[in-house]
Symmetry: C2
């Protein structure tokens, strides 16, 4: 066998994922060398405190607090520190020094991706980030490469395991949000401060990345309309279940034609009703899945573990092997295509179906008045179902009305809901939720 070249690897960060990446680099060194044609030599691991306790036993001499020096001498830099700084500066420094970069930093990519991509393009170096979206699931490479000859029309993703676990708990046990969250925290599926997950911020960063690759246009976090799951109630889940739906937090990116005939992409994260027979409805617990519709390929789904140190390390290593092969074979890195130039649409332009729950007076003609109001606002009703609750003496206590609409714009729906609230026969609007997959 000929002498193998050595590629120096710098690892930045040694948390959950970083520790597993280090372990695999050491344990699987021979297999990785065989697959890349180079020894991937882990030169050091930059951490804040070299004496912190780690999940994995690693050689103490690898640890350093001097990330800058480590990066300067590396051929391959793996950034798993998270956060904006110093990750951003270190990645830019690595690219300027001629290193390929692998990162899982979705927050940084969603906030300042273009700066990083441009630096990588300028240097002809590979910047890859499969681990940033949906953990172990190969999703970015299939979108970027396998579907490069197709036109993606829509992406629906369950990309946050914490919220999927919570919603799944609520669905299967009838628990309220707060109790399901507490259970998720007890089992380690949710952090002590769950804001980034339950408010949808984590999913929104992933939605921006998915939309950018799918539509060949760079979308930033501010282009993503974001609603979390904190206001989803046990009653919402029960009503959805009763109507044959499950509620999922979806990251959605879809091509739409707005009222003026212009094409654009709506990128959004919100709780969404899905029919129980939809492939995404079966994605349970902390699993992730991404459902893609493309003009030629039709419907595709990618399913797997969306988080966890070892699964996510698999995605990091896949990118690393790919970058190492490129360095060994020579030739420039692959740059992203950004030739799509489709505008991001505001949430008002989004078009979807809606589920609306109303507490109404039980009077003759109420249904007709409500239906009339919907029609006046251009929102067409697909299903309308009324349930009357009576007391022991058969006296009506309340009347509940559930409406599922055909596809309508957010603007039209919002105007309809406003108008409905003004009707004297309406006691309250109990829920307004979007529906996909019908």
């Amino acid at each position: 066998m000929t002498e193998l070249r050595t590629l120096k690897v710098a690892l930045l960060g040694c948390g959950n994922v970083g520790a597993q990446v280090a372990r695999i680099l050491i344990e699987d060194a021979d297999a990785l060398a065989a697959r890349t044609g180079a020894h991937l030599q882990l030169n050091g691991i930059a951490v804040r405190n070299v004496n912190s306790k780690r999940d994995v036993e690693l050689p103490q001499e690898l640890f350093t607090t001097d990330a800058e020096t480590l990066v300067k001498d590396a051929d391959l830099v793996i950034e798993l520190m998270g956060g904006i700084e110093p990750a951003r500066t270190l990645i830019l420094s690595a690219l300027r020094n001629g290193a390929c970069v692998v990162t899982g930093n979705k927050a940084l990519l969603a906030q300042d991706g273009p700066t990083l991509y441009e630096e990588a393009d300028k240097a002809g170096l590979q910047l890859s980030y499969e681990a940033a979206v949906a953990g172990a699931i190969p999703i970015l490479r299939p979108i970027r490469d396998s579907l490069a000859g197709d036109r993606i029309t829509r992406v629906l993703g369950i990309v946050n395991g914490t919220t999927n676990f919570i919603l799944d708990q609520m669905d299967s046990t009838g628990a309220q949000f707060a109790d399901a969250l507490a259970e998720a925290q007890r089992l380690g599926y949710a952090e002590a401060d769950p804001t980034a997950d339950v408010e949808g911020h984590d999913a929104a960063a992933k939605a921006a990345i998915l939309a950018s690759l799918s539509f060949h246009t760079r979308f930033a976090l501010e282009n993503v309309h974001c609603e979390g799951i904190t206001s989803v109630s046990a009653a919402d889940i029960a009503a959805a279940k009763d109507a044959g739906f499950v509620i999922k937090l979806l990251a959605i990116a879809e091509k739409l034609t707005d009222a003026d005939g212009g094409e654009g992409v709506s990128v959004r994260v919100h709780p969404t009703l899905l029919p129980r027979e939809h492939p995404l409805a079966a994605v349970r617990g902390a699993f992730n899945a991404v459902f893609i519709e493309a003009e030629n390929a039709g419907e595709l789904m990618f399913y797997g573990q969306g988080a966890g140190g070892t699964p996510t390390a698999s995605a990091v290593l896949g990118d690393l092997v790919s970058a190492a092969r490129r360095l060994v074979l020579g030739g420039p890195g692959r740059t992203e295509t950004t030739t799509g130039h489709v505008p991001a649409l505001p949430i008002d332009s989004a078009v979807t179906s809606y589920y609306i729950g109303l507490d109404v007076a039980d009077q003759p003609g109420v249904l007709a008045r409500i239906a009339q109001l919907f029609a006046e606002h251009g929102v067409s009703i697909e299903i309308m179902r009324q349930t009357i609750h009576t007391d022991a003496a058969s006296k009506v206590e309340s009347a509940e009305l559930r409406i599922v609409t055909h596809r309508a714009s957010e603007a039209a729906l919002a105007a309809t809901v406003e108008a409905v609230k003004g009707l004297d026969v309406i006691n309250s609007v109990t829920s307004v939720l979007r529906v996909e997959g019908v």
Copy 2:
């Protein structure tokens, strides 16, 4: 905008998939140019008869019967003729002339892949074949690239839509194989001569390709143990259903340790019982899906349309864009890694669970004798269930015994079944089927 380079494309074959590839190359020329940095100019389409009727209207002047000349002048050759010759000679000629090749020819790859791969390696050119396995589903690239830093331990695939449709029909309607096949033929899901599909040959070719990429070792068609679905009866399906299983034709490639402690890969295609809650069990009709287990990534599933002209064309175009980008950017093509060197195991070494149906005499002590016999052969029983059928006078007409075993080797199971047949209390062995996912 700078002047774009032109890459000359030769298309060999204009069937179902080829016609759609030609259509997309013409209709989406601008988008493809934007994504590759080159005009992909369709120079010609080689066919047997230039006057045949096509599904898609294409410029008549593109058609030629002279494939050799077309290939000689091409930068990119798309081979969709199928069959061994002249496809093999034309692909080799293309690679020798410096063209990258995209093919969907699973039969050729499974039979003589190594010759083609070596020619591509020697020339430093890309030979890609995503369309050869599971139609539109991006599966080969994720295995080869995304999971390149992981160790795949097992692949289970529903990779033949015809047989999945037939088994699905039998499962949902109770139909016999012959009737379900006739229905599949009527609907265009099965060909007039369905042999390649129903005998498992098509799935076996795909199993060889999946195994080769997953285990970094070149497996040929003769390494694949192959059983089709022609002997699966309505009674088998009903019994499986009753026990909570569904029967699927699976392509399986898994790493096993044989009796002597040596590692090997078992590659096989056969009807298989899957628990109804397994993700693959929900794959209905003509859809395909591939389920992968990897050491770090855990469980992954890829789902989509496994056949059809337009979906498969999406996979061809993905490969074409990738090859074109490489030609534009420069640098050598990516070669397959074949450093795994794991031997293919014979079917006797395969280890799985089994479902066995027996028609037995209703006598005291029968269950104990059968259980004893299994134990003597080292096959452990997980579930044993007896159903007694009686006539109107409560006289026993028959006793049916259904056994699900724990994992055991094929050799041990075969010996057990032979021994069981010799028992005087056994009327017949009604079925022996393998079980996965338990």
